[in-house]
């Protein structure tokens, strides 16, 4: 970014808006917007409380389990759909429907099925993340060049070898892209799931803070979640870049 011909570092914009926020907060115009400094103070305070730590454990656990299941189910299903016409015909419609459906609407049903607890949150994460992983894995194995498979056959590779040494590796960039988007959707799932369930984890905390008009802690928790989601996405993206480096121009 440049302004009046001088380069301004990326962080400047962030600092500027935080300053504006701080001033608005200090003026005490709205109780919804407390000063940034007190939000940060509340955040430092918050992470030391037992309630935050146990809420984080619950969140992390349902996120990790939900993501693990999405990957373990999503990648093989997508690969199968890409390779086996029958399975694609059976599952294709459903996957395409769910990938763009407003899944939050399903959470109340999940609450009836799985109760007001961690299981519902875990299933929500799974439902948010799995479909895009399926679709990207499917797209990945479908775009494997025919000549690459013929190359394997002409040099005497068995079907299994072609699958493991050519098809899977060739689809790897797409599979990883699906997992990255799945992770981001999973973060949404874990937050939305907890807020709707609202008696465990961060959902319980959000509920508590907004009921008590504890805006400092409310914002502190929100910002923490934003930062974590961004870091997660940046981490996977970094890993993906290294894969794409050798996948290169195809």
């Amino acid at each position: 970014m440049t302004l009046f011909g001088t380069r301004i570092p990326m962080m400047t914009s962030l600092i500027f808006w935080l300053l504006v926020w701080e001033i608005v907060g200090q003026l005490e115009l709205m109780f919804l917007i407390p000063p940034v400094t007190s939000i940060i103070a509340a955040g430092i305070d918050l992470v030391q409380t037992g309630s935050w730590q146990s809420a984080s454990m619950i969140t992390l656990r349902s996120f990790v389990y939900g993501m693990a299941l999405s990957i373990v189910v999503g990648v093989p299903l997508g690969v199968l759909m890409g390779r086996v016409k029958v399975i694609d015909n059976i599952c294709g419609l459903w996957v395409n429907m769910f990938v763009s459906a407003p899944l939050s609407a399903l959470v109340p049903i999940l609450m009836i099925l799985f109760g007001l607890g961690e299981t519902t949150v875990f299933v929500t994460v799974f439902l948010f993340a799995v479909w895009i992983i399926v679709l990207d894995a499917r797209a990945g194995v479908m775009q494997v060049p025919t000549s690459l498979v013929e190359m394997g056959r002409s040099y005497g590779a068995s079907r299994w070898t072609i699958f493991t040494k050519i098809i899977l590796l060739s689809a790897l960039p797409e599979i990883l892209a699906g997992i990255r988007i799945g992770l981001i959707r999973g973060v949404k799932g874990v937050v939305i799931g907890q807020i709707l369930v609202s008696v465990i984890g961060y959902g319980e905390l959000f509920e508590l803070y907004s009921r008590n008009f504890d805006m400092e802690r409310f914002w502190a928790l929100t910002m923490l979640l934003f930062v974590v989601a961004m870091l997660l996405s940046a981490g996977v993206e970094h890993f993906e870049k290294r894969i794409e480096y050798y996948a290169g121009a195809r």
Binding site: P145, S147, L148, M151, G152, L172, Y246, G248, R250
Partner: protein
């Protein structure tokens, strides 16, 4: 037409025989659903020679080559390699792909060694062989590069080195130079002739370039447009001891090019 460079030239041939055939194509027909791609192909490919399949785009050259490779099943007819009927790919045949078919995630060395890797040759041994062929195709120093770091011409050299590395009797090349620019193409053709000389293998080569076919071939099989049939067989008899530039100016060479052009002209109109 008394052209000394043409040992044999016949129109409407139905069968082509040779003294010591390594590959025999017997009555091969190929239909893709309702598209008739090849009709009644009878051909023999002589051991140690370079035979070119030449014809307009879409006449079935790739199809015929892939049937010989065992990658595509013939609708009827039979392929024999060293006298034995074959139904699939085999170690005595190696294929060079028009689009290179390199694994983008593997280095040049691993790509060249891939055929050997699939055969179960141990790593040290296959890398040693691969390095030798990488050097032979002029890519020494690029062993650890990835395909996307190479030009089109260099990528095809990798494809050719991979085919050589498995030490097959027959090399099948599908328009290997079509993605290479004109200057490099000539260099390629010269390198190919050198490799043909060195390796003593049978080459079946597909191209749609008349000049290329005449320059590199011992025998040219002209295919007619769809359905592909053999329309003419020409042995150019070019004296390859001359320098490449002299060959390209040689009257015999130019006559063969002209002769083939006349043969193909009927289809162009």
């Amino acid at each position: 037409m008394a052209n000394p460079a043409l040992a044999r030239s016949s129109a409407g041939v139905t069968a082509v025989t040779s003294n010591d055939p390594v590959v025999q194509v017997c009555d091969v027909c190929k239909n893709y659903r309702d598209v008739e791609a090849l009709r009644g192909i009878n051909l023999e490919f002589e051991r140690g020679k370079l035979t070119t399949l030449l014809g307009p785009s879409g006449c079935g050259k790739t199809t015929l080559l892939k049937i010989i490779a065992g990658l595509v099943p013939a609708t009827s007819g039979e392929i024999r390699v060293n006298g034995r009927a074959v139904t699939g790919p085999g170690p005595e045949r190696a294929f060079v792909f028009q689009d290179f078919a390199l694994m983008p995630w593997a280095t040049v060395l691993r790509n060249v060694a891939f055929g050997l890797e699939l055969k179960g040759v141990v790593s040290a041994e296959r890398n040693r062989i691969a390095r030798r062929y990488i050097e032979q195709v002029g890519l020494a120093g690029f062993e650890e590069k990835y395909p996307h770091e190479l030009s089109g011409g260099m990528r095809q050299r990798v494809g050719i080195a991979r085919a050589f590395a498995v030490n097959a009797d027959v090399l099948l090349l599908d328009e290997p130079f079509s993605a290479v620019d004109e200057q490099n193409r000539r260099k390629f053709q010269e390198d190919l002739l050198r490799l043909v000389e060195q390796e003593k293998k049978t080459f079946i080569f597909v191209t749609h370039s008349i000049e290329e076919a005449v320059y590199v071939s011992d025998r040219i099989v002209l295919l007619s447009p769809r359905p592909g049939r053999i329309s003419q067989v020409i042995d150019p008899m070019i004296d390859r001891s001359a320098s490449p530039d002299d060959i390209r100016r040689d009257a015999g060479y130019l006559d063969v090019v002209e002769e083939i052009w006349q043969g193909l002209r009927q289809y162009a109109e």
